[in-house]
């Protein structure tokens, strides 16, 4: 009985609970043997079990359940298996019970052989596995992240979730069974990706484009890993939908490149500053402007104030404060050029608002307005010139009427007297007076004629004239007056110094100013007249300075160059000279100024533009 021995060995050493039941008449099931494991695990003694029926050992309900199973085995006459929960002193366990009926020669069951195997752990693990599988399935299906499982071999889609289907415009059932290759614009692309995954075992955040149902393109960041499922190698792939992001990015790139094109091709310089006044962006024009004004090209990240001398920071701060309160500030600036001309800029500081209305930065625009400014200055100049001209003409019309009227009224008055006069002597006297009036009238007309001719000469010719010799020439003409006054003329103008001027005007101006300087000499000292000439840019400055009696400019300054104004009570003074001189100088585009101190002397300063 080697077999029996083997059986005993198993019987004694197994962890399974083994029992043998003898079937007595009237369906009495009496336990006749249990193995040591049975006693060990139930914590019962042999006496408590062996020779007993289930009714004697188990609670009523459990006993009935067990008896049911025993009877079932007897009826079926074959082995039955079932699971039951058994309360042991160590706790509740799940057992898999095998009941095997043992028959005699006649086929009548005599015994029941039972084995209870503890399957608690196995069942718990199996349950956990099922639960976790379900969990994973749920996660997969409900995940907002598009996911897909496909075979490595040919890309057949085995599982796919709702998110992926939505992203692609399909339903889940449409996709299962399709191949992933169908979703690429170029089906061959799958091979490239497959190789990439196989090389590294995975890919992470690889950018791919897939074809949607509507033939639109969806963009994803794609991650994939090889898993084993249903005995096959599969790709588990996750997708991050970046279609929207790509669209925004594309639009931004497009609009940025458009903007950049505008930015670079505009005539206006732009600098974008962040809230810390650091340069975020700029265009070429702005950088060139910076180089021209500050000797430094722009660099992104540069601090705005660093381009300016410290003394301008305070003013800039005031500007920036206004801008950060939401106001646009603009002003005009001029910068000197190498050629002595000026560049004019319109500098505008505009706040850059973000969505909630706060100021996030400053946009600086620099518009070169040199041409516009030049025109404006030119326009102002000509407007001023026209205004001056108008005023002169109006003054002149008053002068004409005043001067002619004073003579005509005298003539009328004399004639009235003549008509009333009865004495011949008186009549002769009146006729003498008439002659005086007639001479004065003629003088006046000649003077007025001179003035009219200045005003009516629209295009006066200019020539290159030797200033020094013109001064000498004027001094020669005035030599009688000069020697009578014992005056000395110091002609300090360099020989050969040329001026562009009208010859007749230059002669007239010099005669007038030199004769004035000599005529109003101081009785207490020898008269000296100093004449010099210098250039200030494109303007020549001729100065005629005397040490004569001077003029009280506070009193007469305004009238000095008026017509028929005399100040010294000098009998020779006709009050025409300076008026004509001033008109001639202004007609040549210049001006005349006077500086004087009574008892010390007078300087007349004549500005002669040399860019004619």
């Amino acid at each position: 009985m080697r077999n029996d021995k083997w059986s005993n060995l198993v019987f004694d050493n197994t962890n399974d609970l083994i029992f043998l039941i003898e079937i007595e008449p009237n369906e009495v099931f009496r336990c006749i043997s249990v193995n040591p494991a049975y006693l060990r695990q139930t914590n019962l003694t042999e006496e408590q079990v062996v020779g007993k029926t289930p009714q004697e050992v188990l609670p009523k309900e459990a006993a009935e359940y067990v008896l049911g199973k025993y009877k079932q085995a007897l009826v079926l006459k074959e082995k039955i298996m079932y699971e039951e929960h058994v309360q042991l002193p160590t706790g509740l366990i799940i057992v898999e019970t095998t009941l095997t009926p043992v028959m005699d020669k006649n086929g009548k069951p005599t015994h029941l052989f039972g084995i209870l195997r503890d399957v608690t752990e196995r069942r718990t693990q199996e349950k956990a596995l099922v639960e976790s599988e379900q969990l994973l399935k749920d996660i997969f299906n409900l995940s907002p992240i598009p996911m897909l499982i496909s075979t490595v071999k040919n890309g057949v889609i085995v599982m796919v979730n709702e998110s992926f289907a939505n992203a692609m415009g399909y339903s889940v059932s449409d996709l299962v069974g399709k191949t992933t290759g169908e979703m690429y614009h170029d089906p061959e692309f799958r091979k490239t990706i497959k190789e990439k995954i196989l090389d590294n075992g995975r890919v992470k955040n690889f950018e791919i484009s897939l074809k949607k149902t509507d033939n639109e393109t969806a963009h994803f960041l794609f991650s994939s890993e090889i898993i084993s499922m249903q005995g096959q190698e599969m790709f588990l792939s996750c997708f991050l939908d970046i279609t929207e992001r790509r669209h925004i990015q594309d639009a931004l790139i497009k609009s940025e490149s458009n903007l950049q094109t505008v930015f670079e091709n505009t005539e206006i310089g732009y600098i974008l500053l962040d809230s810390n006044l650091r340069i975020l962006s700029y265009n070429q024009h702005a950088s060139e402007f910076s180089y021209a004004e500050h000797g430094k090209f722009l660099t992104i990240g540069d601090y705005f104030y660093a381009f300016f001398p410290v003394e301008r920071h305070e003013a800039l701060k005031v500007v920036m404060e206004k801008v950060f309160k939401g106001t646009t500030v603009s002003h005009e600036r001029s910068t000197s050029r190498n050629d002595g001309e000026y560049n004019w800029y319109n500098v505008k500081y505009s706040p850059v608002f973000v969505k909630d209305g706060t100021v996030a930065g400053v946009l600086l625009s620099l518009e070169n307005i040199t041409e516009r400014k030049k025109n404006e200055i030119e326009r102002n100049k000509s407007f001023e010139l026209v205004s001056q001209q108008n005023k002169r003409l109006l003054d002149f019309s008053y002068i004409v009427s005043h001067n002619l009227r004073s003579h005509t009224s005298n003539i009328k008055a004399i004639l009235d007297l003549l008509s009333m006069s009865e004495s011949e002597a008186e009549q002769l006297e009146l006729i003498d007076k008439l002659k005086v009036v007639s001479i004065s009238l003629e003088d006046t007309l000649i003077n007025l004629n001179d003035i009219v001719s200045i005003h009516s000469d629209v295009n006066i010719t200019t020539e290159s004239l030797d200033l020094s010799s013109y001064i000498d020439h004027a001094s020669n003409i005035l030599s009688d007056l000069i020697s009578k006054k014992e005056s000395t003329i110091f002609n300090k103008v360099e020989k050969g110094q040329k001026v562009m001027y009208n010859p007749a005007y230059l002669e007239s101006i010099l005669l007038n100013l030199i004769s004035n300087a000599v005529r109003y000499s101081h009785p207490d000292r020898p008269s000296q007249v100093h004449i010099d000439y210098r250039m200030d840019g494109k303007i020549g400055i001729l100065t005629i300075k005397d040490n004569g009696i001077g003029i009280d400019l506070a009193r007469y300054g305004q009238k000095l160059f008026g017509m028929y104004k005399t100040f010294h009570g000098n009998k020779d003074a006709k009050g025409v000279g300076l008026f004509i001189t001033k008109n001639q100088i202004e007609t040549m585009g210049g001006k005349i100024e006077v500086e004087s101190t009574p008892e010390i002397g007078t300087s007349f300063i004549v500005y002669i533009p040399q860019n004619l």
Partner: protein
């Protein structure tokens, strides 16, 4: 009506002053004529009378454009003379100017009675020099 005692003519136009002297003498509208070639000479004379028993001329015929001191400057100085003396003096601007500016400026001086345009006629002189007897 009574005769004006003194008329003061301030003008640098010799012909005008000659003719005016003749007219005034012929018309017998005043007893005495004082002629000054500019404002400065006239104001000096008036200042000389300020502290004397002599009264100021009852009528002043004042030109505007004159050398040294013109009519306007004369008026500025005249304002500062003793009010007691000058209150009885009628100042007339006499000019060949027809500039609006001059007429407006003359009106701005309360001391100026009127703005007369040259030539002065007999009728104007009679009007100006007729002082009612009080």
């Amino acid at each position: 009506m009574r005769k004006v005692k003194t008329v003061c003519v301030i003008d640098d136009d010799e012909i005008y002053t000659f003719v005016l002297n003749k007219l005034l003498k012929n018309s017998c509208l005043c007893e005495q004529i004082l002629t000054f070639q500019n404002g400065e000479k006239a104001i000096k004379a008036l200042k000389g009378w300020e502290d004397t028993q002599e009264s100021f001329p009852e009528v002043v015929l004042l030109d505007i454009n004159m050398p040294i001191m013109d009519g306007w400057e004369f008026l500025e100085q005249f304002k500062n003379l003793s009010e007691e003396k000058r209150i009885l003096t009628q100042v007339y601007i006499v000019s060949s100017s027809i500039s609006k500016h001059d007429v407006e400026k003359a009106k701005s001086f309360p001391e100026v009675s009127d703005f007369l345009t040259k030539p002065l006629t007999n009728e104007t002189l009679i009007k100006v020099l007729s002082i009612p007897e009080n």
